[in-house]
Subunit: 488 residues, 2 copies
């Protein structure tokens, strides 16, 4: 479905309806809207153009009469001719068939809806897993970074396959403090941790392999492994995280090729795996010859005390691939993450990265390196932690006031998330839609566990304090209106 | 195969051999070199460590005696135990089997060799398709861009799926001057033009599809379509480029799903398709319902006169996907390219881009937008063109002086390349190896056409003027030494 963000000019002498006709005709003439393109509904067009629906109907009628558009019985309108195909008998490509052919599936419908709604103004984003714009570095800080005559010139050519060596060195130094001993040879810079998962999917696993992972998990909301022909198999969690003792049985039944885990400030539950469980998990995986992807992008966002050492810190056999990112602690726009693992694996994935995009932005790599080396990274972290503590308190307060009878939740000790478990199952799709009509964007639990219809992922990182309070009060009302009676 | 870039410290009191043993042991203990990892040859290690081969042999013997390494009859050495697996009976992951399992094939061996050799110092890169570092903007220029308080703040959050709207608007304005009418809705910002090809491969084409393309072509040196399960089928070129009149027959036989073409300053031949052939190609493709990918990354690098309008400019049916990039005209490190096409196609590919890396670096997108809007882009182009003219003259002179009797070539009117066609076939692999031993890195023709063993892609963009002269003189000697007699 195409989107429209143009409006007729009310001050123009050309009548509104004519302007709309011209706008649509131009899209068709330019080849932007090809034959087969489905137009948004009349209602959606009226809303986008900010005009009465009758004006839209009149304009569409004109273009239909001209042979460019056709309506169908379901009320949809499609482009059926271009001005040129009317003149000559050429056969333009049916892109819309192609669009459905490709190998890679589209995003989950709910995710697509979320992606769109995020750019609507005035929406309260109660589930968004990003730092609020107010928590990102100011533009001026980034400018200063560049303005300060850095010792290292800004590289502008194609980069080494593994990425900027200065940045890799900085990462090695930071990881050392977390107990991970490695060298820049075994670090690959990626365009965000998401890309590391993409590379592992296409570079290390066979088609038809199974990836074991926590249930629920962030990974369930993505297609990265499935689109490469792999299956996901959830493993239950308890309050200490993934239940390591179940792994041998799961391995026996599902023969996982790799295990994906977020042991620290888990997305979506906020859970932290204690040191003991980490050791157990590593031991069981070693015994089962099951390699681990440890996704540790939230590590630096502890709010009360440092989390236990990464699983990777105890890994003496190179069984763990370790992922980090600048996205959650500095800026997602940089698109800088890293992957640490055995050198032959890193070199294999570096070769593939060169084949798919010739490496990450050298500007971003340079900025990330300077950001860490200059100390700005740690300074920002202190600011962000302080703010996240205030936000966490605000959300927990609002939940306490509004939702005690409707749901339960745990106290998150870091990261962004509160996993809200309803006391009673409620129709999640209706909840999502009603909340959206009320201007509240939710991340329903089934994004993270297909079977989960009684939970929501809340995030205190994005919405403002006022929005958090307002949003949660309104959310509680909507849940109640859906028949949840509340426990007494 | 792993690479090593460490050297023992000659000033340390620890004997060199012990340092080498410790270095290797640490790699194994850290899990960077896992069980099964194949070490570089003794000769290669001796070269990397800058020591005698006997020192390397002694160190490897020690580690073999300790049970960590084992040699095989072929003379190769592998890691067979970690210090930990010697202690406990754990079974570490055999990553090296995984490394061979993945879906995505490794780069072509010659390309891997080239990628490595590029980072050797003192090498003359006679084929490299990049601007020389001296033609990239100075670090200061990039710093000034950031320092100048720009009207637009630097965005640091996750970005809109299609990319920064200011940059898309800049691109639309530039394309207008080239005769392409489009709007920002139909433009997708990608992390380099290479990624656009990746997105088309996984987002628009069915497995088993055939991609038609020029023979030779840059695309033959990549795996982007093949790794997504597609086949490439070359179509012959004449001096006017791809032979459009052959397409119906090729279509009949191979049923191409799409045609990939580089009509302007073709890589590797430097060829420019005249306006008439462009019209014919578009007409034939329209008749055959064969969509076109027009890769136009070299357009701005004309040296004598503006090239004909893009094929896209004549496209009234939305049959053409158009690719551009900042890599060849400003900086490849930015990793910024664009894809222009029908809106439903663009939105489909934008959705997939979000799924594979959440969009291009916001820093790079911001810088690219400012670069164009501020006029710096056009100023740089003028400088680059001037320099490329000098370089072109230098290379053609050297060829004239050294190679007249050995090969023929055309005069390139823009871009980077001279396609050197030998009068006699010569053993290309031997030529490549001998040249490399003499410090000259070549791009052999078979990278661009598997059947081509009598051509080389030369580039005047990368090596210095002195290197160009020296390199070509040395190249001619090597060709002669391989038995090419020279025509008289
Ligand atoms: C657990 C986890 N891993 C990876 C990512 C992706 O991070 P990046 O922006 O570095 O690709 C996220 C972001 O939501 C996440 O929650
Ligand atoms: C014809 C052609 N297309 C695309 C590319 C890749 O460009 P980018 O750096 O924008 O990915 C190149 C670079 O060599 C090229 O020659």
């Amino acid at each position: 479905m195409i989107t429209v963000d143009w409006k007729p000019n009310r001050f123009s002498p050309v009548p509104i309806q004519k302007q709309i006709e011209q706008f649509i005709k131009e899209k068709i003439v330019n080849g932007e809207w090809t034959i087969g393109t489905k137009l948004p509904s009349q209602r959606a067009l009226a809303q986008a153009f900010d005009v009465n629906r009758s004006t839209v109907v009149a304009a569409l009628d004109e273009l239909t009469a001209a042979g460019l558009l056709a309506g169908n019985t379901g009320g949809g309108t499609r482009v059926i001719n271009t001005t040129w195909s009317l003149l000559a008998s050429v056969s333009p490509t049916n892109w819309n068939a192609n669009v459905e052919l490709g190998i890679h599936p589209p995003n989950l419908p709910t995710i697509q809806e979320i992606n769109h709604a995020e750019f609507r103004s005035g929406i309260i984003r109660l589930g968004t897993g990003e730092l609020s714009p107010s928590l990102l570095p100011a533009s001026e800080q980034m400018q200063q970074l560049f303005a300060r005559q850095a010792a290292r010139p800004i590289p502008l050519g194609y980069q080494e396959a593994k990425g900027d060596s200065f940045l890799r060195e900085q990462i090695v130094q930071r990881l050392k403090k977390e107990g991970i001993a490695t060298s820049p040879d075994s670090v690959l810079i990626v365009s965000g941790a998401l890309q590391a998962l993409q590379l592992i999917a296409i570079g290390l696993l066979k088609k038809g392999s199974t990836v074991l992972l926590e249930n629920p998990s962030y990974l369930h909301s993505l297609h990265v492994f499935q689109s490469a022909g792999m299956k996901l198999q959830g493993v239950p969690m308890d309050p200490d995280g993934l239940q390591a003792e179940l792994l041998p049985a799961y391995q026996k039944q599902f023969k996982g090729a790799i295990l994906y885990s977020i042991p620290t400030f888990h997305n979506p539950t906020g859970n932290v795996m204690p040191a003991k469980r980490r050791e157990e998990l590593l031991r069981v995986c070693d015994e089962q010859s099951l390699p681990i992807i440890e996704d540790d992008v939230y590590r630096d966002l502890w709010l009360d005390e440092r989390p236990p050492c990464p699983i990777k810190a105890g890994d003496k056999n190179g069984n763990v691939l370790y992922l980090g990112s600048m996205s959650k602690s500095v800026s997602p726009g940089l698109r800088i993450g890293w992957l640490v693992g055995p050198q032959p694996v890193i070199e294999r994935l570096a070769d593939i990265k060169m084949q798919i995009d010739y490496g990450a932005s050298s500007l971003s790599q340079w900025a990330a390196g300077e950001w860490i080396a200059s100390g700005a990274y740690d300074q920002r972290l202190a600011v962000i932690r302080e703010q996240l503590r205030v936000r966490r308190a605000c959300m927990l307060n609002a939940l306490e006031r509004n939702c005690r009878d409707l749901a339960s939740w745990d106290y998150p000790t870091g990261g962004f998330y509160v996993w809200l478990r309803m006391h009673e199952a409620i129709p999640m799709k209706t909840l999502f839609d009603r909340a959206l009509s009320a201007g509240i964007l939710l991340n329903p639990g089934h994004l993270y566990d297909r079977q989960e219809f009684g939970a929501l992922r809340l995030s205190y990182a994005y919405a403002s304090l006022e929005e958090l309070q307002q949003g949660i009060a309104a959310l509680a009302d909507i849940i109640r209106s859906l028949g949840a009676t509340g426990r007494t």
